[in-house]
Structure formats: structure tokens, C-alpha cells
């Protein structure tokens, strides 16, 4: 801690009463104080450090410091072959590994102009939507725990466990899958996988509703999140926000719908945005609501995929996997909708090498977090926790 303003300027002592801030005393002598939140702090969801300049309970400025998990992903990419980059992408957003693999493979396949077998696409969408639900469950559960609600956390992790078990059965790993390959898949799904997924969907629907009733309609939770950290739609776009964060501000934008890839154009799903009845559009509660509603949409997508999926006759998941990935000279920007927003890969190929000349990952968390300084200005310290939680960052992807 560091004293900045010894003399202390005339300030206010504030208190939050219902939805408005009430001035209790005027002209109190306070000192500005630098408070370091993190890197080891449970509510920063990893190793993020926020240097907060506080005046009493009010945060006047919060500067994020990152890089504690920087592992030179982009430098590694320049030294390994295209298919060998897939496991690295798992380790970026480790809560949604399959979605990261999907984004990378979409980019490379666009550069290679590859035709992917239909069954592969369906399996890819099923596993990535399962992973999306698992990721949103972590987001919702840890957000609840940030705000002091322990039970929803246990509910979320119990159901996430079912998904991880299914994915482990299909891919052989619980979190770092290396399942989606450039041009195909590592394996076909095991026999009986579809039945187990359908069983899970019918099991999970009532549980999701229960979670909704327990948390989203909880008065304490609503009081802590409603009207906090409001981000207007135009500023959100200017900040490059994407995914549930952007939709929380009321912008109906989903890459699965607006710049479709894979088989998403054939599927029927809604892009939920808050209607402003329960929450204030753009606040922390809106972002939470979008995640909660998206879980239901993902369940719908999974059901449709299992219904439409082609059979296994003559199917080889590695049929279109190139022996040697060597794209022609050129550049590509490919992207996919991750649970946290737009994950994009800018890849530059020189046409000779089997590893990219430059591979830049446009991380959704990194971009979403960049608005933290503006979002936190003038907030109370407990609200800062609510705002960080609503951003749902994974530091593995922020730092890469």
C-alpha cells in the first residue's frame, strides 16, 4: 500500500442503499490509496493483477496488469507444423478447449480450401456445444461464488462433470482434448455416444431451470448485479467486445449466425439478448442472463445435430486430414464463436514451409478485458468483483 494524497482532499462517504448511492457525510478527509488486487486473488479468476486507486470504498482508477501466464504461443506457432498447433490452442482457453481447436481449424481450412466430411462437422458442433455448456457452467458457478452464493457453484460443477466425462469418453482427455484436427477429427465418437448425449440433455434441462430459479431469480444476486458495470452498445462495439459480452449490451451478433462456419447455417437456434425487463441492458446481470439463455440454445443445437447426423457407413474421421499441411502463400483471418466471444486466428503462410510465418490469436478475453479500466471507474470495490466476474475471463487466453 502506498499513500498518495497525504493531505486528503474533501471527499464523500458513500453508502449503497437499494439501487442508489446515498451520501452519508460530506467533506470527510480521506486518503487515496493504491490497492493491488491479485495476482493471487480468488475473484480475479486466475493471475490477473488490478492496481486500484481507491478513495475510501470507491475505485477511482483500476489498471489491469497481465502477462503472468504468457507462454509465447505465437512464437511457438512459428516453429511447429500446422497440426501441432492444435494442442497449444487447447491451453489458451482451457475451459473451452474444443471451441479453440474449432476456431483454429476453421482458419487453417479456409486457407487450405478444404472440404470437410459432413459427419465430421456434426460431431464437431456437438462436442463444441457441449464444451460451451461446460464453460458457461463454470462462468455462472464461479460468478455466483464471487458474489457469495456457494450452492449454485456446486450445482454447476456437478453437471459440468457429466459433460467432462462424456468428452473424456469421446476424446480421451478431460480438458486438453486435441480432438479436432485440421481436416477432420482424431477419432469418431464411440458407439452409444449419441444416446448418452440425449440422455444428458433430458437430464440437464430441469437442472438448468433449477439453477435459473436458484440464482437468476435470487434477490441478493439481482441486487449485486443489476445496474452495475453498464456498457452501452456502441461503446461495446468500439471496444471490440464479442460473444455474450456484446449480446449483453443488446447487440444481436453471433458469428455462428452472422459469419457462419461449419453447419451452423442449417441449424435453428436463437441469439438471445436481454430485453431489459429483468436487467438493465448492458449491465452485469444482462451478461449473466445471456450465458444462462445460451445454455438452452446449445441444448437445442445438440438435439438437432444428433437428429440430422449422417451414419457411420464408410466414415473415416481422418479421410480429409492432409498428410502434410502446406498452404499456398497467402493470409487468412478465420474465426469462430467461443463461449467468451470471437476467437480469431490471423495466419500468414509463405507457401513453402509447413509451419506458419505468423500466427496471431485474437483472444476474446484479452479484448473484453481491455474495457476494464473504463468499466471500473467510480465503482465500489465489491462491485468491481461483480464486474470482473461478469467479464468471464480465462487468463490462459488473455496472456497466451
Amino acid at each position: 500500500m502506498q499513500e498518495l494524497d497525504k493531505a486528503g482532499q474533501g471527499s464523500l462517504r458513500l453508502s449503497r442503499k437499494s439501487d442508489t448511492i446515498v451520501v452519508l457525510e460530506k467533506d470527510l478527509s480521506t486518503e487515496q490509496m493504491v490497492l493491488s488486487m491479485g495476482p493471487q486473488h480468488p475473484s480475479t479468476h486466475g493471475v490477473l493483477r488490478l492496481e486500484c486507486l481507491t478513495d475510501g470504498e470507491v475505485v477511482t482508477e483500476a489498471e489491469p496488469y497481465l502477462g503472468y501466464l504468457h507462454r509465447c504461443f505465437e512464437k511457438h506457432c512459428e516453429h511447429v507444423d500446422y497440426p501441432a498447433i492444435v494442442p497449444y490452442t487447447d491451453r489458451m482457453d482451457y475451459l473451452a478447449g474444443i471451441n479453440s481447436e474449432m476456431a483454429y481449424c476453421v482458419a487453417v481450412e479456409k486457407l487450405l480450401d478444404l472440404e470437410i466430411p459432413r459427419r465430421v462437422e456434426f460431431i464437431r458442433v456437438i462436442v463444441s456445444e457441449l464444451n460451451r455448456i461446460a464453460s458457461h457452467l463454470v462462468a455462472i458457478g464461479t460468478y455466483a461464488i464471487d458474489l457469495g452464493a456457494f450452492t449454485p457453484f456446486l450445482f454447476c460443477f456437478r453437471d459440468r462433470e457429466h459433460i467432462l466425462n462424456m468428452l473424456e469418453w469421446a476424446t480421451g482427455a478431460r480438458m486438453l482434448y486435441n480432438y479436432i484436427w485440421v481436416g477432420g477429427l482424431a477419432y469418431d465418437v464411440p458407439a452409444g455416444f449419441n444416446e448418452r448425449v440425449l440422455e444428458f440433455v433430458s437430464y440437464f434441462r430441469p437442472k438448468a431451470l433449477e439453477l435459473q430459479q436458484l440464482l437468476t431469480e435470487n434477490e441478493i444476486f439481482v441486487k449485486r448485479t443489476k445496474g452495475i458495470g453498464i456498457m452501452p452498445a456502441d461503446v461495446a462495439i468500439n471496444y471490440g467486445w464479442s460473444g455474450p459480452m456484446l449480446r449483453g449490451s443488446g447487440v444481436q451478433w453471433d458469428i455462428r449466425r452472422n459469419d457462419p462456419y461449419s453447419i451452423y447455417p442449417e441449424l435453428d437456434f436463437a441469439v438471445p439478448v436481454p430485453d431489459g425487463k429483468l436487467s438493465v441492458v448492458g449491465d452485469c446481470l444482462s451478461r449473466h442472463l445471456v450465458r444462462a439463455l445460451e445454455i438452452e440454445e446449445s441444448l437445442k443445437i445438440i438435439e438437432q445435430c444428433i437428429d440430422k447426423m449422417p451414419g457411420t457407413e464408410g466414415f473415416d474421421p481422418r479421410a480429409a486430414v492432409p498428410k502434410r499441411v502446406r498452404p499456398k502463400a497467402g493470409e487468412v483471418y478465420g474465426r469462430a464463436e467461443n463461449p467468451r466471444g470471437e476467437l480469431g486466428f490471423y495466419i500468414q503462410s509463405d507457401g513453402k514451409s509447413t509451419s506458419p510465418l505468423r500466427c496471431k490469436a485474437r483472444s476474446s478475453c484479452f479484448v473484453n478485458l481491455s474495457a476494464m479500466k473504463d468499466l471500473s471507474r467510480g465503482q465500489l470495490i465489491p462491485d468491481l468483483v461483480a464486474i470482473i466476474g461478469s467479464l468471464d475471463i480465462v487468463l490462459g487466453e488473455v496472456d497466451r
Binding site: 502477462g67 468500439n238 451478433w253 497467402g330 487468412v332 470471437e342 490471423y346
Partner: protein, 172 residues
């Protein structure tokens, strides 16, 4: 453009957007590269980059309100560093285009567009951190992922990692 080449709809839309920019800035920007994976043009007069960015964001026919990505790139053969900016018009039009800006490798700088798109702030800091080009007019030009006292620019092709950092041996 090659004769008789069929362009996809997306590339045609980017081409139309390019036409509007070319009309205004003329020789300051290069010809349009209509490749299928990432259509782009290059800013030849680097000093005009901020003006071009503002024009692209605010022109009623362009409205590139969303910067998807900004990647720093090293071009060792040409002795240059550069950025590749992926822009699109989110919710207004359907066009997207990439812009390249280059600067000399030694002591080069590129005008900052952090005032045009807020998201460019951290992206430019990252490009500086990794490649070492400066962004003129950037509000907060510091390293972001590496520590402040790290030596060298990791994503340059000729980068050699430092021997030790605060007494810790770096190469493994």
C-alpha cells in the same frame, strides 16, 4: 484484377468499400488485393493512416465500426515491420476488409488508431511489446505481456532470447 476471375460476394463487397476509400485517398493507398481468404489493401502514405481509419469508421457508406484484430508482423527481407488490421462493419453493412500499414524496422513508427477504436489500445501495445514498432499518439505506450524491463522484441525473426533475467537463466 485478372480478367474473367469470378469473385465471391464477400470479396465484391470489400471491393466496393475499397472503391469509396480509394476515391477519397487516391494514391495514398495501394491497389485492392482481391484474394479469397483475406482481401486487403495497403496504406502507402503511413502518416495518413489515422485519417483513413477515421474516414473508414465514420463514412456513411463504410461504417467500419468494429476492429476484429490487429496483428503485428515482421518483414525481415523488406526491412520493415507492419500491422495487419481486420475491420468490419458490425450490424450496419456486411463488408469486411483488412488494412496493412508498414514502417521501417529500425526506429519506425506507425500512427496510433487507439482514438478511433478503443480496442486498438491493447492490440497496439501488444504489437509494440512483441515487435518493437512505436505507435505515435498512443495514450499508454508500454509493454503489456512481457515485463517492462524485458530485452528485445520476441516476435522478430532474428530474436535472440536474453541470457538471464534478474538472475534467472532464461534459455532452457
Amino acid at each position: 484484377m485478372e480478367e474473367g476471375k469470378v469473385l465471391s460476394n464477400a470479396v465484391q463487397e470489400s471491393g466496393a468499400a475499397y472503391g469509396v476509400i480509394h476515391e477519397k485517398f487516391g494514391e495514398a493507398i495501394s491497389a485492392f488485393d482481391d484474394n479469397a481468404t483475406m482481401p486487403f489493401f495497403e496504406v502507402l502514405d503511413t502518416a495518413l493512416w489515422t485519417d483513413i481509419a477515421l474516414f473508414m469508421r465514420d463514412h456513411p457508406k463504410l461504417k467500419f465500426n468494429y476492429m476484429a484484430c490487429l496483428s503485428g508482423v515482421d518483414y525481415p527481407e523488406a526491412g520493415k515491420l507492419g500491422i495487419v488490421v481486420n475491420l468490419e462493419s458490425l450490424g450496419v453493412f456486411n463488408h469486411r476488409i483488412a488494412v496493412k500499414v508498414k514502417c521501417p524496422r529500425d526506429g519506425g513508427s506507425i500512427p496510433s488508431v487507439a482514438g478511433v477504436w478503443h480496442t486498438a489500445n491493447w492490440h497496439e501495445r501488444e504489437a509494440y511489446d512483441m515487435l518493437g514498432m512505436l505507435f505515435e499518439g498512443h495514450p499508454d505506450m508500454r509493454r503489456i505481456l512481457c515485463p517492462d524491463d524485458w530485452e528485445g522484441w520476441p516476435l522478430r525473426k532474428d530474436y535472440k532470447v536474453q541470457e538471464s533475467y534478474h538472475g534467472i537463466t532464461v534459455p532452457y
